[in-house]
Symmetry: C2
Subunit: 337 residues, 2 copies
């Protein structure tokens, strides 16, 4: 190793000695605590500057019982799931919110059993001040561990069949309603939907929104096929729907990726979009601007999701009461509907 000079960084004791005051006085200056005379403060500050002193994080953490670190945990069976740009956006949001604080972000990809036990250990050994949990299933043992470890925790999205005490989620049902209502407003009546996995909260909520909108408009849900949020899955579902409901005149796809697959299949089938069939997606990913025609879709701000999760967690760590948040969605009109 090119380990730097073996001389260690100066300690608080040395600073205090140089400033000619006690260690406690020096500590007070550093922490901007009250009851410090002008003379003491000046002396300590000068010593700090001269020695290039910086307090040791670890020692401070031990004394204050605060690590200055929060974790973002992505718990899921598929290790590749993290490659979804969704998480990058969340992280950008989280980082932005953290930027204004002195906290740092620990990222935990807990897909394997080993990964999960590492995370568990991290929480139980008081390695972080709080944790944000994402992408976990309702029966994920993590929910139990987190609760038991007594670590402040906020959820990003809700697991199915489990309402966490504190969470931030996009208004999935509302967005789906928005999309469906838009299609209905266009005069379409034979609106079908391509859902995500119904065994996920997101998949279920977006399907629910579609149903609600249809029923509110006095229509009956015209046709449903379950996809898996991917482009290929969307294409397959679209083929199924065309087959079963050749008269369909609109489709609400629960993700942009699925909508892209659907568009491809519709083109192959000779249906023109939006003339014959109107299509709306969900997510407003980059892909939505590049489909042919460009995709009308429901926008959700994933960075905001990250930001709000972080703010909520900071509040909880500070001991404040908070309430869960549902983030709004909005329709972005492009060419497909």
């Amino acid at each position: 190793m090119a380990a730097a000079a073996p001389r260690r960084q100066p300690t608080l004791d040395q600073v205090a000695e140089r400033a000619g005051v006690s260690r406690s006085a020096a500590s007070r200056v550093i922490n901007k605590a009250p009851h410090v005379s002008r003379a003491t403060r000046d002396a300590v500050e000068r010593a700090i500057k001269e020695m290039g002193y910086l307090p040791d994080r670890t020692a401070r953490a031990l004394a204050t019982r605060q690590t200055g670190i929060v974790a973002l945990a992505v718990s899921h069976d598929d290790p590749e799931l993290f490659a979804d740009p969704f998480f990058a956006q969340v992280i950008v949001g989280v980082s932005a919110a953290l930027e204004e604080t002195d906290l740092h972000l620990l990222l935990c990809l807990a897909s394997s059993g080993r990964g999960r036990s590492r995370l568990t250990n991290l929480l139980q050994t008081r390695g972080v001040d709080g944790v944000m949990l994402m992408a976990l299933r309702g029966d994920d043992p993590l929910t139990h561990i987190v609760r038991q470890a007594g670590v402040p925790a906020v959820y990003g999205g809700r697991p199915l069949h489990f309402e966490p005490q504190w969470y931030v989620d996009s208004d999935n049902a509302g967005g789906a309603r928005l999309a469906t209502e838009h299609l209905i407003g266009l005069g379409r009546t034979r609106v079908v939907t391509i859902t995500g996995q119904i065994c996920t909260e997101v998949g279920e909520a977006r399907y629910r929104g579609y149903r609600e909108a249809m029923i509110m408009a006095g229509l009956t849900p015209h046709g449903t096929a379950e996809g898996d949020f991917t482009e290929a899955g969307g294409a397959a579902a679209m083929r199924t729907l065309l087959d079963r409901h050749p008269d369909l005149d609109a489709v609400f796809a629960a993700s942009d990726n699925m909508a892209a697959g659907a568009l491809r299949v519709l083109a192959e089938a000779g249906r023109s979009v939006p003339a014959d069939v109107a299509v709306v997606g969900f997510d407003d990913l980059q892909i939505a601007e590049r489909t042919e025609p460009p995709l009308t879709t429901v926008h959700q701000s994933i960075q905001d999701l990250g930001k709000e999760m972080t703010r909520m967690l900071l509040g909880l760590i500070a001991g404040q009461e908070r309430s869960s948040i549902i983030l709004p969605t909005r329709l972005v009109q492009r060419g497909s509907a």
Copy 2:
């Protein structure tokens, strides 16, 4: 807060007391140190189990002067850069390598001045055991800070005009050579290139590889246009090239995104790919499989990059000597060449 029972976790002292041994003995058992009798070990292990003891990370960190945390720092001016799927892949690789250890990953997006100073502080206050640096410019002050803080550091990719002591990088020049040679092997002689920003190491290296291959084959570089690694940039560059070198019969684009833009422009211009113009990209991103025609491209394993960086860093932390690594690339043939 729903803070769990205020009763704190048991400490090592309590475990020792319960086991009827000294704290040092208990510590030895936990750390699997030698010189522990069977009886002592059993007693301590039983006490640990009964009390549900887990050592406190922070206290241990203070005593051992090891935090058990490594940082991945992405230092760049554009906060959105992190949204590039590239980083997600790196993180997946890093996580996989870390999974086998007891270390955790701290993620630092240091784009703003504030972010950079936070990172600086983290390193100087001994908040992490080592750091992996990515996407920084040659003159990034971070390189200096890292050096001065004496924190083990490995670079992912090389900044321009600066060869870090330890780094992992893809063989960009070699890959570009591979791509260009492939085009030449196809009988193309009027091969042009769309480069990335030449003011980046990657951009420069891939351009260099192209030139080398051309010259080795006795050809003169036929035309060059600088893009910015994006699809739009690639499209613009392609238009320029078509305009200046209407006779071109092949193009090597320094990224898949740019290649996708180029394909679009070529189609608009009525050039058929690969018949009239053969195209090769670089990166082998998902988009390469979806272009029309599917893109022949140079594959690099970004997860491996993350893994190797991590292994190297772990080695450095453990005090081993290491040497920098250049990861191989390979050509993936699809329809465009």
